[in-house]
Subunit: 170 residues, 2 copies
Amino acid sequence: MEILLRLQPVGYVETDYSDEEVSEAWPHGVEGRIVIYPRFSEGIIGLDGFSHIIVVAWLHKIPEETRMTIKVKFKRLIRLGLSIEDVPEVGVFCSDSPHRPNPIALSILRLKRIDGNVLHVSGLDLYNGTPVLDLRAYTPSYSIEGYVLPGWYTELLEKLRKMRVDWDKL
Amino acid sequence: MEILLRLQPVGYVETDYSDEEVSEAWPHGVEGRIVIYPRFSEGIIGLDGFSHIIVVAWLHKIPEETRMTIKVKFKRLIRLGLSIEDVPEVGVFCSDSPHRPNPIALSILRLKRIDGNVLHVSGLDLYNGTPVLDLRAYTPSYSIEGYVLPGWYTELLEKLRKMRVDWDKL
């Protein structure tokens, strides 16, 4: 069952890096900009001073057929040095894979500075031109104290730690 | 400029509380369930053991006219005891107000247990029947260390603290 939703992009991603460079920059991301359309520019009043923002974006370049992905491997961890056997197959909802039923990104970006309606960010993992659907300041509501992870996840983190990978997330 | 996006709800919110009761339960939320449609049920493999999930939901009951909201007051804080003068007006992107250009919710819920394709949750701030567009495990990627808040925000938190409100978020 599908629904058609009428959405109004509030802005878009701008970066000087190519899609390939953005992909290869994982997990650290690239520098770039979130450009807010003038009619929504008052929406960022008060945003200055937050160190991080959450960007909700529509991954418009994700191929249609990958929207049927239900189980995933953390393939990006193989790039960090793990073997394919070390990486379990889990449900797509345990992962941030862009290949998912609705290709919506939740990207937490570092907000470096604001020039008018342009937010300068780093840690960007979105391609140039990606439509931005929503934006949130990263507030204490998003920082959950004492959250718990399952065994399979902490074991993967432990493997990365032993490999001295400069990354403590999956 | 609007775009039509074809989305497939992966499930929906179920709660025995009325919409009014859910609204009044802020900030602590109510108990409820996220029911995953059978065709997506393998997507939750591996989710057991995460203490929290992020639910991306389409706020289908938000009136059309509130989608033009660009500046907001944290009205909910008035309910906690702050005066209207104490609450600044800021851009909608600094807030989690459901009245926003695209009424998409990002709700972090406590995952209590999983029965088949039903996720039992608490901290629910979504109405019964709300379509769920996406679901993520709350992983270290979402927990930003050393994030910074602007002065106006920390001043509000300080005011709440002085009022001994049992809530450290806006």
